[in-house]
């Protein structure tokens, strides 16, 4: 007669077989690699098929990067998600999720990979000496890239950023990187900065020009305008003096040109006017 221990052992031995019988199995299509730039944007279809479900299946939907995609819920066991013209921002981790009446959800994930593309960056940044500058780059593509900042010198050659002065700070997140420079130095900091995003599929970089203005820069146009004004005023004063060299340009003098030999006697002129009255 088998003992209790033996029966327990037998039960335990068959348990995996039993439970594996009840586990839902999902057939999912393979990972895809997008080549959006190659010109042929072939449509891509992701498929999932539920085989061997134990409890009653309720519905199915798709998720991308942890968020449910709208309008994908069906009650079918075989489900497809089609990307008709896949672009780089369609890449990511997709999951088909099956829900059941009285069992936890089951899912399978399919990775859609693409080389990174840089979608957001400033073309140029103009700041004054001593201020802080912030350069950034945003990307799409999956898996999330590794970021690197470099500075361009000459043609096509790069140097790494020299942080011996401790003024450079880099923050890297999944699809975003930021380079902050505090206390801009007009001698060493201006130049072309390049952010480079690379993942297992490919890499991309984009450039931002950093210009540092000196404190005195606006003085030059200001002095130029002042010079123009002084020249104009001199011209006007000289012109007025030539017309009436004996008169001090006085606001209340009559404009009427009095054609006479120059005389310093104001009274004379007014006598003349009164007489003609």
């Amino acid at each position: 007669m088998p003992s209790y221990a033996g029966m327990l052992a037998l039960l335990l031995a068959t348990l995996p077989y039993v439970s594996s019988q009840n586990e839902p199995r999902i057939n999912a299509s393979d990972q895809e690699i997008l080549q959006p730039k190659s010109g042929q944007e072939l449509p891509i279809t992701l498929q999932c098929n539920l085989t061997n479900s134990h409890s009653t299946h309720r519905d199915t939907f798709w998720m991308k990067n942890g968020q449910e995609i709208a309008n994908t819920r069906t009650e079918r066991k075989h489900t497809e998600f089609k990307l008709s013209k896949p672009r780089t921002d369609d890449s990511g981790e997709y999951m088909c999720v099956y829900t059941f009446k009285s069992a936890p959800n089951a899912n399978a994930s399919i990775e859609v990979k693409a080389a990174p593309e840089i979608i957001g960056h400033k073309r140029s940044e103009n700041k004054k000496e001593g201020e802080n500058a912030t350069l950034y780059c945003k990307s799409v593509g999956y898996p999330h890239p590794m970021w690197m900042w470099r500075k361009k010198v000459g043609r096509g050659s790069y140097i790494d950023i020299d942080n011996s002065t401790g003024r450079f700070f880099i923050i890297n997140k999944d699809n975003f990187t930021e380079l902050s420079i505090i206390g801009l130095d007009i001698g060493t900091d201006p130049g072309e900065y390049v952010c480079n995003a690379s993942n297992i599929i490919g890499s991309k970089e984009s450039m931002t020009i950093l210009r540092v203005r000196s404190h005195l820069a606006p003085l030059w146009p200001f002095l130029g305008v002042l010079a123009e004004i002084i020249i104009l005023v001199v011209i006007i004063v000289v012109y007025e003096k030539r017309k009436r060299p004996d008169e001090v340009p006085d606001d209340d003098e009559p404009v009427a040109p009095v054609k006479t030999n120059s005389t310093n006697n104001h009274k004379d002129k007014n006598v003349r006017q009164r007489n003609t009255n």
Partner: protein
């Protein structure tokens, strides 16, 4: 030659005055119109709210209007030339102080008080000079001068943006301050006219040629009903004027238009404004109808266009309505100052201009908040256009009353106003 004593030159050096006034209006009004480009920079520099930065320009507007009678009075005592030069110095110093980027109260002092006073001291006498120097060609001369504001406003928009990008906002203000010093140059060109003609009960011609040009500020003009009613028109019209520009972009955005397209509507509006000013100045010069009648027609048409504005729902219809609005707005602006001469005559013009600017500002202050309240109540941006259209049509009613009163006055024998635009025989007898 005594022709300057009795007749405005109506040409000759007057065109130099018009050119100078063109630049003065550009360097004052156009700078102010484009000051909005500095708002974001100043706001982030001082880390304050949007409303705080817009209070700066509100102070400029307030100081401009309060300073208007002061500018008129001073230009009667000294001369327009002196006041404009002082105005140029004030405006420049305001900009230079602002460019230092000191604390916020200094910004209010510089941008608000100094710039506002400088603009007032330059703009008012320049207007006065153009009107004094012309009679027959007055409408078109004034229209050309006031178009300076439009031309410069269009040019300054990209120019200021470039200045801010290249030199930062402080550097840009410094350069603009230097440019405003040209107001002094323009002022130097404003040669004063000799004594304007006076009435029969003449003040005696004084020894050194300084005569009744040194008038006093005539507060008594307010007792004239025609001027009073004209000022009521001005208050209502100002309320109607200041509302649409503020609400045009939100209205367009509310219909789903993108910011770039909404901005292009404003550019079209500025261009239509310029064309309206020039066209109406030329039209007024033809003297087919009296200035007051022309003004009434334009104001009413403008009111009607605004009342119909909410009919526009698409980009192209908004563009059409905005061009019509801009054109008619330019027309009204071109003649509503020269009309003052028809009402009070040339010797009362300076005082009346000062009073006009001072009192109409109340409409400009009350209008936009009232429209804002209405829009909040009705949840419809179109309500602001209804309000401004209504104000303008109502103001037209007052214009009709003014026209009647002025016509009645003309029938009186001792009229010394220039309402008829006919040369009248003057007391001193001497004539060209």
């Amino acid at each position: 030659m005594e022709r300057y004593l009795s007749d405005p030159p109506d040409g000759g050096y007057g065109w130099v005055v018009v050119t100078s006034a063109f630049f003065i209006m550009g360097l004052t009004a156009a700078v102010f119109k484009n000051f909005g480009l500095f708002f974001l920079e100043i706001q982030s520099y001082y880390d304050v709210l949007n409303s705080t930065t817009s209070w700066m320009t509100s102070t400029t507007i307030a100081v401009f209007h309060l300073g208007a009678p002061l500018a008129s009075a001073l230009s009667m005592h000294l001369s327009q030339r002196t006041v404009i030069i002082v105005g140029g110095l004030l405006a420049t110093s305001g900009m230079i102080i602002a460019s230092l980027g000191l604390s916020l109260p200094w910004m209010y002092l510089s941008v608000g008080l100094l710039q506002g006073l400088g603009v007032s001291f330059s703009w008012i006498p320049a207007n006065s000079m153009v009107n004094h120097y012309f009679r027959r060609w007055r409408p078109i001369a004034y229209a050309i001068a006031s178009s300076g504001e439009c031309v410069f406003a269009m040019g300054f928009s990209p120019f200021f943006q470039w200045l801010i990008d290249s030199y930062s906002w402080q550097g840009a203000l410094l350069v603009i301050g230097g440019l405003q010093l040209n107001l002094c140059v323009c002022g130097a060109l404003m040669k004063p006219l000799p004594a304007a003609q006076t009435s029969i009960q003449d003040k005696p011609v004084l020894e050194d040629g300084r005569t009744s040009k040194k008038g006093t500020f005539q507060w008594s003009l307010l007792q004239r009903p025609e001027l009073l009613l004209y000022i009521v028109f001005a208050i209502l019209a100002a309320a109607g004027f200041f509302i649409p520009p503020l609400f045009l972009v939100p209205y367009a955005s509310g219909l789903g238009m993108e910011p770039y397209w909404a901005a292009s509507v404003l550019s079209v509006l500025a261009l239509a404004d310029l064309l309206g000013r020039l066209a109406c100045g030329w039209l007024a010069n033809l003297r087919l109808v009296r200035n007051l009648q022309l003004l009434t027609m334009m104001v009413t048409a403008l009111g009607v266009v605004l009342l119909l504005f909410p009919v526009a729902q698409s980009y192209w219809s908004i563009l059409v309505f905005a061009s019509l609005y801009g054109f008619l707005f330019g027309c009204v602006v071109a003649i509503h100052v020269t009309t003052i001469v028809d009402i009070v005559g040339l010797e009362g013009f300076d005082s009346a201009l000062g009073l006009f600017m001072l009192l109409r500002s109340s409409g400009g202050f009350v209008g936009p908040p009232a429209a804002g309240w209405l829009v909040d109540r009705t949840h419809d941006f179109g309500a602001s256009f209804y309000l401004s259209g209504l104000c303008l049509v109502l103001s037209g009613v007052f214009l009709v009353l003014v026209d009647r009163l002025v016509k009645k006055k003309l029938k009186l024998p001792h009229s010394n106003t220039e309402a008829t635009d006919q040369p009248t025989l003057k007391a001193d007898g001497a004539h060209v």
